[in-house]
Amino acid sequence: MRQSQRRNLIKLGVASAVAAAVPPGAFAQQKKYDPGANDREIKIGNINPYSGPASAYGAIGKAIGAYFDKINAEGGINGRRIKYITLDDGYNPAKTVEMTRKLVEEEEVLLVFQPLGTPPNSAIHKYMNQKRVPQLFVATGATKWGDPKNFPWTMGWQPNYQSEGRIYAAHLLETRPGGKVGILMQNDDYGKDYVKGFKDGLGDKAKAMIVSEVTYEVTDPTVDSQMVTLKASGADVFFNVTTPKFAAQAIKKAAEIGWKPLHYLNSVSNAAGSVMVPAGAENGIGIVSAFYLKDPTDPQWQNSPEYKEWAAWMARYNPQASLKDNFNVYGYTVAQSLVQVLRQAGNDLTRANVMKQAASLDLASPMLLPGIRVKTGPDDFFPIEQEQLARWDGKTWVLFGKIYGK
């Protein structure tokens, strides 16, 4: 009630001001606001694990904030400042529900941006869609976030794990159709999604080709035992679905026990500086992995203007964070996507219009690989679906072949 009164008053005042100051055309679009937006600011909520065992991901939440600082310093979006409220859920779904409700019901944000992790997002999936608040660009690669028919208020962002799994399968079928595959995966949704996509991609041949499948828990100190099992299975292809620490251990252990398979490494752990070099740069020669972002630790990008711009932003707005940390590229790029959505939304800052604009993106971003675009449509809630394969040559990732995906 009060809200709409205030809105009307604002409209009145603004309409006269706009008529005087803004060039024609711009004010053809009437100003419309939902909670969290007004003439001066746009409130955006975010949830990240700043504490607890998943606190490495906290870097993303901070990087996003730092990018919004830059946008605000440069005048904001269509004259509005971004007010960024980020909260800690410690990767505990029950806490995610509490924090989301704080953002939506108390802070009254326009949208919740980039909540992180599959279980936390699953916990608020229904709530966000019942409340009709955008749960935008969630930070997980599960497939269920692109379901506009049943969940029109939720959208993913990064390439989903299953489609990446299919890319490796396609490459494997092209290059070594008779291979015997060993799989190492983390025992959770992320590992299972990758392996499901991989098996789907192999199709009927999956049963015959996969000779061994082992798992590890995040609490395991090492994956040495699993690597020995895989080698003993006689596999000559290795699909490595692990997070950075375990990926580095697996690469090193494979070299130590003299196992030299055709090695596919998931994109979660392909950072040059923080996985490949710690694992021993020579140990990883020949590994194939899929990319969509530019790796900040890969020398091939470090002279590009895009990298320099990113590094300058890091130095100015996010000086405490590490230049080696991929998450800072991720946060920077996903924040750019949101900024584009809000730019497109113009003066119609309603939640419905935010989702409408998010579903009509076609955008290249400086730190995305050349040729890869953020693309969505009313039926396509998977913003990034393209990836390209690269091979580690001991110093850098060498891109090869076509860009997979649409």
């Binding site: 504490s51 065992p53 606190s55 490495a56 906290g58 870097a59 025992n187 082992v214 798992t215 590890y216 828990e217 995040v218 609490t219 395991d220 100190p221 090492t222 040495d224 035992s225 699993q226 020995v228 099992t229 080698k231 003993a232 950075p244 620490k245 580095a248 251990q249 130590e256 026990i257 003299g258 950072a271 500086g273 923080s274 996985v275 070099v277 710690p278 964070a321 590490s322 080696k324 940390d325």
Partner: protein
């Protein structure tokens, strides 16, 4: 067959990690009769100190010794400054302070050194080709045995060692015979922090250094120490090897990797119900 032998050796190598952490736990138990939940995080933080020194260009053994010394001082300082006020409070109050220390160290390490994994150098020669056990694994087991012998000699043959054991076992009587119990506790903390630092520096080349490095390992070290008997350093070492090998064999041949942790834990608990003081622990007889 080759795979079985490799599994056993891989188990011995990880068992060595558990053993060294278990040893640090036994140490602090011997001198304070507490189990320090923050032990793992303190060891991790010490390893970061060593890493920072190495980054600054220190030679390996220089950084090693400096880290051990700093950790000793740090452990002593923690006991004197942070634990002193709750020395006489109930055990659980102390446990909560340990949990506080755990989260503080974990959080500070992430904040200061960030979360990307860091390679940590090994002082031992690089492994050449396919070997059953790498020189680093052998080397760290040797380092640990040296620590164990030194520790044993210290507790067994020096008067300070005797005083420390007395202070832990019976603080009241120890005080009556003139032992400064509170300082003995501090000394125990210093020693266990130093041992933790050694363990951390031996573990880091295998598992990589990051703020959550010790999370899983502490649990296994805990299991190793209790399986062997919390009052027996040798027990902790043997317990560590048993846990490491058992877990690998179960995972590889018996129940698969998905449930290996659960089953290994159930087995340990079962063993403990049969031998409540661990395999090599002393049975404590209480008087009414």
């Amino acid at each position: 067959m080759e795979a079985l032998i490799q599994q056993i050796f891989a188990g011995l190598a990880t068992g060595g990690i558990y053993a060294s952490v278990g040893l640090a736990l036994v140490m602090i138990y011997q001198s304070t009769h507490h189990i320090n939940f923050a032990q793992g995080e303190m060891a991790m933080f010490s390893t970061f100190i060593a890493w920072a020194l190495l980054q600054a260009g220190w030679p390996y053994w220089g950084a090693f010794l400096a880290t051990v010394a700093v950790s000793f001082a740090g452990g002593l300082a923690i006991q004197r400054i942070i634990l002193k006020p709750v020395e006489k409070a109930p055990v659980l109050t102390n446990v909560i302070v340990f949990i506080g220390l755990l989260v503080i160290f974990n959080s500070l390490a992430g904040w200061i050194f960030d979360h990307t994994i860091k390679p940590f150098p090994s002082p031992f020669p690089k492994s050449s080709g396919a070997q059953l056990i790498s020189p680093h694994d052998l080397g760290s087991i040797a380092v640990m045995l040296v620590v164990l012998v030194l520790l044993y000699a210290f507790l067994r043959f020096t008067s300070v060692g005797l005083a420390m054991r007395a202070a832990a076992q019976n603080p009241e009587s120890a005080r009556l015979v003139g032992i400064r119990v509170s300082w003995m506790l501090g000394l125990g903390w210093g020693l266990s922090a130093a041992i933790g630092a050694v363990a951390g520096m031996m573990v880091a080349p295998i598992v990589y250094l990051d703020p959550n490095m010790m999370g899983g390992i502490l649990l296994y070290g805990f299991a190793a120490a209790l399986l062997g008997g919390i009052d027996n350093p040798w027990g902790a070492v043997i317990g560590g090897f048993i846990v490491g090998v058992l877990e690998n064999l179960l995972g590889a041949y018996v129940i698969g990797t998905e449930l290996k942790l659960s089953v290994a834990l159930v087995l340990i608990v079962t063993i403990l119900t049969v031998r409540p003081n661990g395999l090599f622990g002393k049975t404590v007889v209480t008087r009414v």
